[in-house]
């Protein structure tokens, strides 16, 4: 699992770590029972304060994504939490509207948006393909920002 942090991002670093781990979970790059690096190792690797990584782990644990087993390490939970479908759908439809309106303003059509979604998907699952155009990359970036 590759993580990148950017101190100048509008999200605090611990949130950036949380988001990337949940994205890896969503895309299946992290699987149930996988072991995560210790917070100290990850801190060393990312060059951020150990407490920041610990905070990200603690929050993810509270949300039920990962669990710490004393003396063994931190693992992805066997059973991931499910958000209620109805709530989720409502939220997604909001994000979808934002995405579509941004796309239409940028002069993209519906099938371009589908392309963008496919790119995002392959990025999530780790089958990273080069994005179709520079324009679509910019768009995906904007979208993730909006969501956060």
């Amino acid at each position: 699992m590759q993580l990148i942090v950017n101190p100048a991002d509008e999200l605090p670093i611990y949130r950036q770590i949380m988001r990337q781990i949940t994205e890896a979970l969503a895309g299946g790059r992290l699987k149930r029972g996988d072991k995560l690096p210790s917070h100290r190792d990850l801190a060393q690797q990312l060059v951020v304060a150990p407490l920041t990584v610990k905070k990200a782990y603690d929050e993810l644990e509270l949300l039920g994504f990962i669990e710490t087993q004393r003396g063994r390490g931190t693992f992805v939970c066997g059973k991931l939490p499910r958000v209620k479908r109805a709530d989720q759908r409502e939220q997604m439809s909001g994000s979808a509207k934002t995405l579509l309106s941004q796309a239409y303003l940028a002069g993209l059509n519906f099938s371009d948006v589908i392309e963008v979604l496919k790119d995002a998907e392959s990025e999530l699952t780790g089958e990273r393909t080069a994005p179709a155009t520079a324009r679509t990359t910019a768009l995906t970036k904007d979208r993730t920002k909006e969501e956060s």
């Binding site: 100048a8 509008e10 605090p12 951020v48 304060a49």
Partner: protein
């Protein structure tokens, strides 16, 4: 948590000039990493020197490990590591000689750590200090400051003048120390990205006082900048009286306000107080927050 360092009402002036520090109080607990921020001349170096017992405060008191650094200099210094902004190392001695000197001074010297850091920085023990680049000299200063495994590390702009790669290596060593020992660190810096990387808390000095003392993540999430059209408020005082506002200044045709609340709440509060439209509230990185809090007016009149 145990209190490692405590400033209580520190006042300090140089000669007959107006005081640089006008009553600074805050404390640092074990394991904390505190970034001390402020503009040039805000008194960061003065405060750190007072903590080291290198300067007396005119009023107020400082306690390090519960002791006065001027009354018990040895006990205190043995447990502190310090890198000054303008640290001068003896030019004619070699790295090895300098290390030998420090090893002699500090009984708790850790040779394994010494080797690791020399390795990490690719420093050659035989080189003389005057042959080193500015960055390498700082690395040697850091090595000398940390190899006795201090409980408290005080760094005064440790990264000033270093290239980005050297700065990153500096941070890596700091994180290694945090990981191994849970060392407490108080450091001043103008590199906000570095502060975001290793800091857990920031203390901002302005006009001789602590302007802001906050957990870094809270600062990033629970503070925002509001931009309000100039015409919607009569004066800076009116804005500063709005609940939640911690600072306001005029930037060309807009008021920029720092709010202690999330963007939505700030926007609601402003709509209620001013009834104005065209208000935008955003979360910003530390660098922007710093500029908004202590930056000068960007207009002749305010």
């Amino acid at each position: 948590m145990n209190c490692i360092l405590e400033f209580d009402g520190i006042v300090r002036a140089y000669r007959k000039n107006p005081p640089v520090l006008k009553g600074v109080s805050f404390s640092v607990h074990g394991g904390e990493v505190v970034g001390l921020l402020g503009r040039n001349g805000a008194g960061k170096t003065t405060l750190l020197r007072i903590a080291m017992g290198m300067l007396y405060p005119d009023a107020g008191s400082v306690q390090v490990f519960g002791l006065s650094p001027t009354a018990k200099p040895l006990e205190v210094k043995r447990r502190i590591g310090f890198v000054a902004e303008d640290q001068v190392l003896p030019a004619m001695s070699s790295i090895a000689e300098l290390i030998a000197f420090h090893r002699y001074l500090f009984p708790s010297w850790d040779e394994e750590l010494e080797g690791q850091i020399l390795d990490r920085f690719s420093l050659d023990r035989k080189r003389k200090i005057l042959q080193l680049s500015k960055g390498q000299a700082r690395q040697v200063a850091l090595l000398c400051a940390v190899c006795h495994r201090p409980e408290l590390l005080i760094l005064d702009e440790p990264a000033a003048g270093l290239d980005p790669a050297a700065r990153r290596e500096f941070l890596e060593v700091s994180i290694q120390l945090l990981n191994r020992e849970g060392t407490t660190i108080l450091f001043s810096s103008h590199y906000m990205n570095d502060v975001e990387r290793i800091g857990g808390r920031v203390v901002l000095l302005d006009d001789g006082k602590v302007r802001l003392d906050s957990d870094l993540d809270r600062l990033r999430e629970d503070f925002c900048i509001a931009m309000v059209p100039k015409a919607s408020a009569p004066s800076v005082v009116a804005l500063r009286n709005i609940p939640g506002c911690v600072g306001a200044r005029l930037v060309f045709d807009d008021w920029h306000m720092v709010f202690q609340s999330a963007p939505d709440a700030a926007e609601a509060q402003l709509k209620k107080s001013l009834g104005a439209n065209g208000i935008r509230c955003v979360r910003v990185p530390l660098e922007e927050m710093f500029v908004e809090l202590v930056g000068g007016k960007r207009d002749k009149e305010a």
